[in-house]
Amino acid sequence: MFGLNDNCSIDQDQEYLTLEDYQGRVSRWCAGCGDNGILGATQRLCRDEQLPREKTVFVSGIGCAARFPHYMNTYGFHGLHGRALPIAQGIKMRRPDLHVFVNMGDGDCCSIGTAHWIHALRANMDLVVMLHDNGIYGLTKNQASPTTPTGLKTNTTPRGTMLRALNPLTVTLGVTNASFVAQVGEWIPDLLFEVLKQAFHHKGLSFVRILQRCPHFTPELYNALLTNPDNIVLLTHEKGMQIGETTAKIYKRQEHHDPSDLNRARELAEMSDRVPMGILYRNEEIGRYNEISRSGILPTWERRAEVLESAFDRFGIQASAAE
């Protein structure tokens, strides 16, 4: 398609790609950083789906999380702080053959990138978007992010943050055309993998908020969830996630939630005492901008020349005697 040369696809099909094949540079995250778990789950997904590495692009902004693409052995675009989504959209727009993933930190996505976040949700292009939410600015060393919990002392809030943390789920669910909204903690590998898998198979933009531990700056952020699984509500449904037995044993609080129920999804997202994990909302019926905006016309030179000539005809004059 689009004049792409598909010659090499046969070659690629023959070899089975292992986990190592998806590993890029050695990660330089802190020991114990939750980003490592997200990386692992993603590599597993790529392996299980046997994604052609040359057809896969990881796009990120700037931050600890945004180093992600360097650690994948695929194409990567480590762009500017806050700008991952417009770039990812630009990549996907004319290249439906590419699998495009987006990795952003909470500052990247929910602070400087807010406008793009909202509008990418609305455009609903086929992207898997991972929000690595560690509730802090990691790379720039400990400033409050929009998701930093109230009262946490950081370098820019030495007396503790004053505002309630922004809830990325309620914001996302408030955006028209949001079509896949999920939440998961990176410390639950099976759940993370399962959510990513469903996100990958969803047609449209899948937004996954991943609660990510930052042992360096916010070591206690998710303690309540880590120490007491009952603070987590697993969302299960025939139309949503099915939970494995072991996971189900640990996370006893579960809700049978139909992911097509937007109102309930919003209520779940709003809960203040417990944290939902799983798929809050899914709707495959919403149009994808990259698809619905296509003309179906092949952009060949012949076509271009035709359009030009007809425009030239329209704008053309030939000085002439009046007929």
Binding site: H70, L85, R94
Partner: protein, 629 residues
């Protein structure tokens, strides 16, 4: 360029011949003066004149009626020689009300002795305030040497149609056809074309209005003009700069245009929204200029070199992403249709004030190509060149158009589409083992990029300082190396440029250097001054960064060198201004720094195209001042 009466018609009408004329039609917004102007321009072009039209656009959508800043309309310059700019002052004005007329008058846009055709109905308006305003204006007009003709346009139209407000403009076209001795058949054809498809019932009444205007002029005016046709030039297009540029985008093979609306750039995207779609591409209106630029960069990275079209404030917002495209060597074409600045400035007005910011705007070292079309025709071809440069040199190309080109409309030779204009298909061939994504050639700084889909080319592009393997650079050498190579590419590109040709003699007393849309006006002024015996020549630069070799040698052949630009520079005559603090016009600054020649500048920010007459006067003053000193 003198006018002369060539004969007197039967009805004692003077028949005057002239080489050129400038006509201004002004009305309240919504009264159709723009359509009238466009139509009369086209009729004149078809009748063989060279034509340049400029829109007169108010700042608001429907500004209050009968006010000077609310005037909407068109200025049409027609001539028997090649017209390259909007020219000097108007010789004939058609005004739908006296306030619109006053706007142009106080802005000094009408020439002495100008013919004024003014709607007369306001004098007897039931609202006494309006009638008074009209009377007051007539008083003022009496103090001028304008030749005033009060025309009962409304009344005459009402003889033909029931609602005159929507038809008056056709009456005006009829008048103009008579005044400029046009064959009405051209006008009938235009009206037919306009209404044929959608409102055929409108053809008749419009033709009636046209006839009425023609008749009225024939019967009531004591003059008529003849502007002989210009030598034939084969098939021509009539378009404004933005349409021309939009057509150029399609011709260049670019498939993606990402934009956010902003005056005066938006109309290019309007045109593309349909045309690019039909060519299989897409116009993406992003949530803001930052997103538009990011989107274009994404598309370019994925192999579809994209264009992002904006104006000054939009370019300001793209500053950071522009640097990413430079740093990561992602081809990108950015069009800035300049308007008046700084800040929101003068959104609908002409200025060339963004040159230095295009070159130096982003923090850190940002070598990139900056070029400027000088004509409406250039607007077309520069898109093709820009895409090629962007891809060949893995670089950002900034194209600086302006409101003067964007809203000016003129004819140029119809291009013949060439397959070689087209973009090559996306390279999806496997990358040889061991090849690196930034394998800079030490001689040229060039390297071959890898596009997603190319097996074996996997790497992560980054805006951080990076190694040849596109890894994050940790050692001091890597950053220097990257900077050197990105800059070398510009030098390599510079070697491909040819010195521009001097307009006029290669040596003399004064060289005027210009860039962008002022070319036509400068060259016309130089031509006139040369006819007057002055040793002045002009040099016009298309490439502002880098600049071709040989420019210094050209400049050295002249006793004085100066730039003429539509941007701000301090007036050296002000008591506070001296050589230690004078702020120079954009290009003057660049030329001074590079060539160490004492280059002066003459520039202003009135938001108007510079008139050839003003430039000519400035040349005369300067060369005579020099003599007396």
């Amino acid at each position: 360029m003198k006018e002369q009466t060539v004969r007197v018609a039967a009805n004692s009408k003077q028949i005057i011949q002239a080489e050129e004329h400038i006509i201004e039609i002004v009305s309240d917004s919504g009264e159709g003066a723009q359509t009238a102007g466009q139509m009369f321009g086209t009729i004149s072009a078809k009748a063989g004149n060279s034509v340049w039209t400029v829109e007169i656009i108010p700042a608001e959508i429907e500004p209050p009626p009968r006010t000077a800043p609310g005037a909407s309309g068109n200025r049409i310059r027609i001539g028997s020689f090649e017209i390259t700019n909007a020219g000097d002052d108007a010789k004939l004005v058609v005004a739908f009300n006296e306030q619109a007329l006053m706007g142009g008058m106080s802005a000094g846009k009408f020439e002495s002795g100008c013919i004024v055709l003014l709607e007369s109905m306001w004098g007897k308006h039931p609202n006494p305030a309006i009638a008074r305003e009209y009377a007051a204006t007539m008083e003022k007009l009496k103090q001028t040497d304008y030749r005033i003709y009060e025309v009962p346009m409304e009344a005459e139209c009402l003889k033909v149609v029931q609602d005159a407000r929507r038809g008056k403009n056709m009456f005006v076209v009829g008048m103009l056809c008579n005044i400029y001795s046009r064959d009405l058949a051209y006008a009938y054809k235009e009206i037919e074309n306009k209404f044929k498809a959608k409102k055929p019932a409108m053809i008749k009444p419009n033709i009636d209005l046209l006839d009425a205007g023609y008749r009225w002029a024939e019967e009531n005016l004591d003059f008529r003009f003849e502007i002989p046709p210009c030598p034939q030039q084969g098939a021509q297009l009539v378009a404004n700069g933005n349409t021309s540029l939009a057509l150029g985008v399609i011709a260049s093979g670019m498939e993606v245009c990402a934009m956010y609306p902003i005056t005066p750039a938006t109309s290019a995207s309007h045109y593309l929204s349909q045309a690019l779609y039909e060519a299989g591409g897409v116009v993406h209106q992003a949530e803001d200029e930052i997103a538009a630029c990011g989107f274009a960069i994404g598309a370019s990275y994925a192999g579809k070199t994209a264009v992002t079209i904006t104006s000054g404030p939009g370019m300001a917002l793209k500053t950071e992403l522009m640097a990413l495209s430079v740093m990561a060597e992602i081809p990108l074409v950015l069009v800035n249709v300049q308007r008046g600045g700084p800040s929101t400035g003068l959104p609908t007005k002409v200025e060339q004030g963004d040159l230095l910011s295009a070159i130096f705007g982003s923090p850190g070292d940002n070598p990139k190509v900056v070029m400027a079309p000088a004509t409406i025709e250039d607007c077309f071809y520069c898109m093709i060149t820009a895409r090629k440069i962007a891809e060949t040199f893995r670089t950002l190309v900034v194209v600086l158009s302006d409101a003067n080109l964007a809203t000016g409309q003129a004819a140029f030779p119809r291009p013949v589409p060439q397959k070689e204009w087209d973009a090559p298909p996306i390279d999806q061939s496997p990358v040889p083992k061991g090849a690196l994504p930034y394998d800079w050639d030490p001689k040229t700084g060039l390297s071959k990029r890898f596009i997603p889909g190319q097996p074996g080319g996997m790497h992560t592009l980054t805006g951080l300082a990076h190694t040849r393997a596109s890894g994050v650079a940790y050692d001091p050498e890597a950053n220097q190396e990257g900077c050197v190579n990105r800059s070398l590419k510009l030098a390599a590109f510079q070697k491909t440029l040819k010195a521009p040709k001097v307009f006029g003699d290669p040596a003399g007393d004064l060289l005027i250097v210009g860039w962008g849309s002022t070319k036509g006006a400068i060259e016309e002024a130089v031509t006139r001054a040369r006819k007057g015996g002055l040793k002045v020549s002009a040099l016009h630069l298309t490439y502002l960064q880098p600049m071709a070799s040989g420019i210094k040698e050209i400049m050295q052949q002249f006793k004085q060198v100066m730039t003429v630009e539509i941007n701000y520079s301090d007036d050296p005559a002000h008591e506070l201004i001296d050589e230690n603090n004078r702020r120079y016009a954009n290009l003057a600054w660049l030329l001074r720094a590079r060539y160490l020649i004492d280059i002066d500048c003459w520039s202003n920010v009135y938001g108007q195209p510079i008139k050839p007459g003003e430039i000519e006067q400035m040349i005369r003053d300067r060369l005579s001042a020099r003599k007396t000193h």
